[in-house]
Symmetry: C2
Subunit: 222 residues, 2 copies
């Protein structure tokens, strides 16, 4: 069955989100110190990571919490400096090299392209817009809007929405549990992107690539 | 009594906030249309202003509300596009010409400089940081932190915090009710900045200038 539909994860698949998050957090810490916070930046950074681990990365009050844990009398200037530096960095996200050109080539070849991602609908759209690749996709499926995280059921819902057979689909992503296993179980061809936390872990994916900019090398072989 | 303390409002005093807010909102509307929203930009802009009037300018969900009022089925992409364009514009705020140089000259001359502003503490600090003028100020008084909006009581609290006599202070701002009247009643010298909604209205201020970059012309006459 010829492949017609290609589904992409966003974070660490279309752009280096782990690298950008790390840089954004370090820039935020530097900005707090620059604003006059007399603490060691490395200690602050480790404190921040502890808070993020505990509260989840989508929690909005990381820097508030960090300032509270330091018992600062006048935290607003430090929170404001951190958030400004954090957002400045996150606003400069770039796709992996070749991603935009590859997506265009796939569209030219007649593929239908989709995003399948976990997260907040508006935040994931914000990334596509800032990466300037939103228009390559025929539709975007975000867990929040779909009512469930990526899973067999999620991908089944996507197949139904596309009116597609699993054999016509390819899923590209970096996370074994979210991107590879559930799609593979349904019979979707899976492509593991070697990025982020699981870059070096074993995978049951059918193919492996460095990032989404290399996807054509796989599709040419199908 | 020689003037020692100069207090500045932020919005439409240190930078053209009305102009930037208007541009940011228009850019947001353009980004929604660019994202595929098939509506007239002028009508969308007027709808947005109605929402802002009703909810207040510090309300966080203007674009959500706008999309709801249009009964869009998939609003996330439009909200994300609007918020991204809005923030991109607001991040590029610049002081009025000569403001940074004037503040530096005043510091050199031995004045103590302060901010006295209504609003959210973090948002007002964010502006000072983005304008790159935070370090000129010896302290920053924001209504949220002070527990009350600018008023006679607010300025009295500021005087107490500075351990200052009214005759040693100058207040620079654009709003008659918030900046000029209460300060003047206390005996603080008042300087009206001709910007924003009240640019052309009558004032009881002791002096008038175009924007804060012109403050030295007043101080030289005191």
């Amino acid at each position: 069955m010829p492949v017609k539909y290609v589904l992409f994860d966003i974070d660490d698949t279309l752009f280096p989100s782990t690298d950008f998050a790390q840089l954004a957090r370090k820039n935020a810490i530097r900005a707090m110190v620059d604003m006059g916070l007399e603490k060691d930046p490395d200690i602050l950074y480790r404190k921040l990571l502890t808070i993020i681990d505990r509260e989840g990365s989508n929690y909005e009050g990381h820097f508030d919490r960090l300032c509270k844990s330091l018992r600062l009398k006048k935290p607003a200037r430090f929170v404001a400096a951190a958030v400004a530096a954090y957002h400045n960095t996150k606003m400069s996200i770039q796709p992996f090299p070749g991603v935009a050109r590859s997506l265009m080539k796939l569209k030219e070849s007649g593929y239908m392209l989709y995003v399948a991602t976990n997260g907040s609908t508006i935040k994931q759209w914000d990334k596509l817009i800032r990466l300037r690749i939103a228009f390559y996709f025929d539709d975007v499926f975000v867990s929040e809007e779909m009512g469930r995280a990526k899973s067999k059921k999620f991908f089944n819902d996507v197949l139904r929405r596309l009116d597609a057979e699993p054999g016509e689909c390819v899923m590209v992503g970096d996370k074994e549990a979210a991107d590879i296993l559930p799609a593979k179980e349904l019979g979707i061809t899976t492509v593991k992107v070697r990025q982020g936390r699981e870059a070096r872990e074993k995978t049951s994916a059918d193919y492996r690539i460095g990032h989404a900019g290399e996807i054509r090398s796989v599709l040419e072989r199908l």
